[in-house]
Each structure stands twice: as structure tokens, then as C-alpha cells.
Amino acid sequence: MVPPSFLKESIVKMISAAAIYLADDVKDALKKAYENEDKPVAKSIFKSILDNIRVAEEENRPICQDTGTVMFYVKAGEKFPLLGKLPNILKESTIEATAVTPLRPNAVDVIVGKNSGDNTGEKIPWIQWEILPESDEAEITVLLKGGGSEKPSLAKTIPPGLGVQGALKLVIDDIFEVGPEPCPPVVMGVGLGPAGDIAMALAKKALLHPLGKKHPRADVAELEDKLLNAINALEWGPNGVGGKTTALDAHIEIAHRHPASMAVGVIVNCWAKRTSTLKVTKDSVEFITHKFLNSEVK
């Protein structure tokens, strides 16, 4: 069995890495966007972004000062031996990663407004569980979710008569309204289903897909393409200064809806989509997105 202290150490490394090193899919998408841009102002924004990514890596600094709310997405086997200990391990890892990276303390009491100072608090770090039957392994993803890009988050139920187009219009209007605020080029997660909470859960699931991944259903994948093209047609551009790339990708997840309702969930990420994933088997930890950590933690 992986000792709890070893798992904790690995998760601390994973959180720090998420804050400092963008995963390759995001970096590649930003490089492509830079090459594709020909407006000087927009191009200079992309240059700043690429310079920033390099400086962060070279000097071990968080990419962005808003190191986000710490959110974990856990797929845990029902027989995973550390299942019961995991919530505490995740909390302690968050506190330690906040101190060593360092991360900005971003957990504020909703009622009295006091910052806890260590990125933990009431239900924070957030942990979303998915239980895998039979398995004794776990896959843990951390998302450091910036605050600015939460502004366009929405859940809204529309009459099904408006159709899928009505749902996508809602998403386009949302990005049109917020413009530069969520730090474009953004990544879009959209959920369609029977109720607001389901649509939001699906939107987050969609957001966590690697960039470039398409929905397995051809008709949904086609909608993803259309949504991405439509958002980019707005030409808000990087940082909202006008330009070709307003979104790096758009993912859609679906659930069968109720006959009377089409719920639409939208979750937006800034260009600095900071996630990292590791896999825990019975006797090892493997870093999936930030593979260089595999040689650091033994």
C-alpha cells in the first residue's frame, strides 16, 4: 500500500506543478493561437502570455497570482485502501502546497469575509467524488480555478422549444457580455441536461477534458466545433483587445433532459487552465499530466 505520507507529498507536488507549469495541451493551443494571430496588439498579448509561461517555468513562480480555489476531482475505486483517509490528505496537501509553492490564500468566509490564510475552510478544498466499482486504484485531478473567469458561470433552464441553438445562443451571449473579464482566450465547459445542478456538473466535467478532445458522439462533436467557431467569430480576442482567438476550445457534455426543460450549464476557464492529474495504484503513484514529477518523487 502507498503510505499516506507519500501520497500527501505527491499531491503537494501535483498542486505546485499545476500552479507553475501549464499542461502541454494548453501550451500547444496558446502557441498555435499566437502563430495564427496577425493583429499587432493581439499578437503582443500572446507574446506576453508565452513569455509568462516561460518565466514561470524558469523561475518556479505561479503562472498567475490568482492561484485559484483548490478543487479536486477524484475517481476512487471502492476498494482503494486510502479512501477514508483521502479527504484529510487532500486538505493537508492543500495547506502545505499553499506554504511551499507558495499559493495565494484564496479561501474567504462567505459570511464574515475573513480569509483563512491557507486555502482551506468551509467545504474547501472542494472534493468531487466518482466511485469506481471493483477498482482498488484512484485518479486524482486538481483544478486551480481562478476567480475572474467564474463571472460568466451560469445555469439557466430554457424552454426545450428553443432547441440546442437556443442553448448555444445563451453561451455566446454570455461570452459576448463579459468580453475581456474572464482573461480570454477562454476554455468553455458546457452541460446540457434536465436540471440546473446536473447541467453545471456536466459543464465542469466538460471543462476538465484535455484541449482538442472531441465528444465521442459525432453530432455533439459537431456542436462543439460550431460553438468554438461562433465564440471566435465575436473577435473579442486575447485579453479582450480584439483578435482571432477568443476561446481555445469548447467542450459539451450531455444528459437526457426532461420533456419540459432544457437546462444549460456554462463554466468558463481563463487561458491559464491549471490542472494536474495523478494515479494511485496499490503500490505506486504515477503523474499523468506532469510526467517530469515521476522522476522527482520516488
Binding site: 503562472i63 497570482q65 492561484t67 441553438q165 459576448f176 468580453g179 465575436l234 481563463c270
Partner: protein, 201 residues
């Protein structure tokens, strides 16, 4: 599009040279303030209470940094801009009461701020959102921090910067706002976006 390099304190004459679309690199004193600091600063100034730092001729940065303390010395680890629109409710009065000359943020600001920029000779500039590592690299020293009781992100961080930029001038001292034209253009593009998803317009 002209590139300028200014050092604080910045005079009214200097700031009046800047036009929207110009690029600015800044050296000297930059002071961070977000929502809570703006609110407290205005409460103090309305009651005739002086602020612990002097903003006159200096640069105000919409920023909540990542910081590190070693011994009694602070360093800035990551320092990109926060969204400026939240500060729109305070900024015109803040400009009037403090004499701040350059505001740095992201995402643009509104009509009231633009009018104050015109009336009191100030500019609003933007640094690229999310570029916290790049910004921190140009911070040479933390002179001091005030109002730390508001929390690290909300405190007033007084920093010495060298060639901080590129900052894009988005509101100039004529009150011209870069976003006025862009928003009109994006509004026209909205129809194109609807057509792509198959909506009749």
C-alpha cells in the same frame, strides 16, 4: 502606436502625451489596491484621515499578489492584474482624492473613470491578464505593506518596479476609451456568431 517609458512620480504633462493604443513601460513606485482597499481608502479620505501611502503621481495596480516572507522581508512571487470593472464604483473618486496618475488593471473600465481621467489627468492601462510571473519579474523590491489586516490579496503593497510592461493604454487623459469602438465591432460580430450555430438573424 507609440512606446513610452515613464518613471514615477509622473507629471500631468507626461501623462497627457499618452493616447489609447500606446504602450507604456513603467519604473518606480507601483501600489496595489483591490476592492477592500479602495473602500477603506475612500472612507479615510472622506473623513479627512490621511492614507498610509502617497498615491499622488504614482501608479495604482489592481492586484492581489502571491507573496513570500523570509525573515522580515517580503518578496512578490506572482503579480498579474485583477479585473478592473469591479473597481469602477470607486475609481473616479479615488483618482480625484489621491492624484494617482496611472492605473493598471485588466478588462477595461467605464465612463465615470474615463471622465475622471480627463478631468484630473490620469490614464487607465492594461497588463495581460494571467501574466503574474512576468509582472513579478519586474518587481525589484517591496518597500512596505499596509492594511495587511484586509488579507494578503487586499492589502496595499508598495513596490518598486523596473520597466514594468507592456501596459496598453485603454483610457487616455482625453477620456477616450479603447473599449467604446471595440464593443461596437464585437456587437456587429454577434450576428455572424448566431449564423454559425444555425440561428436565423
Amino acid at each position: 502606436m507609440v512606446e513610452y517609458h515613464f518613471s514615477t512620480p509622473i507629471s500631468k504633462e507626461e501623462v497627457k502625451k499618452l493616447r489609447i493604443g500606446d504602450t507604456l513601460f513603467l519604473s518606480g513606485v507601483v501600489i496595489s489596491a483591490r476592492d477592500a482597499a479602495h473602500k477603506r481608502a475612500l472612507e479615510h479620505l472622506r473623513n479627512g484621515k490621511p492614507l498610509p501611502v502617497n498615491f499622488s503621481g504614482m501608479a495604482l495596480y489592481h492586484l492581489g499578489p502571491v507573496v513570500k516572507k523570509e525573515g522580515d522581508k517580503w518578496s512578490i512571487i506572482s503579480a498579474g492584474p485583477t479585473t478592473s470593472t469591479r473597481l469602477e464604483m470607486y475609481e473616479a473618486e479615488f483618482i480625484e482624492r489621491t492624484g494617482v496618475r496611472v492605473i493598471i488593471g485588466k478588462g477595461g473600465m467605464g465612463l465615470k473613470t474615463a471622465e475622471a481621467c480627463k478631468k484630473f489627468a490620469a490614464v487607465y492601462t492594461m497588463f495581460t491578464g494571467g501574466c503574474g510571473a512576468l509582472a513579478a519579474k519586474s518587481v525589484k523590491e517591496v518597500e512596505k505593506v499596509e492594511w495587511l489586516d484586509l488579507g494578503v490579496p487586499e492589502a496595499l503593497w508598495v513596490m518598486h518596479v523596473s520597466n514594468f510592461g507592456p501596459l496598453a493604454v485603454a483610457i487616455d487623459s482625453n477620456g477616450k476609451n479603447f473599449y467604446d469602438d471595440l464593443k461596437k465591432q464585437v456587437e456587429c460580430n454577434l450576428k455572424k456568431a448566431y449564423t454559425i450555430i444555425g440561428l436565423k438573424v
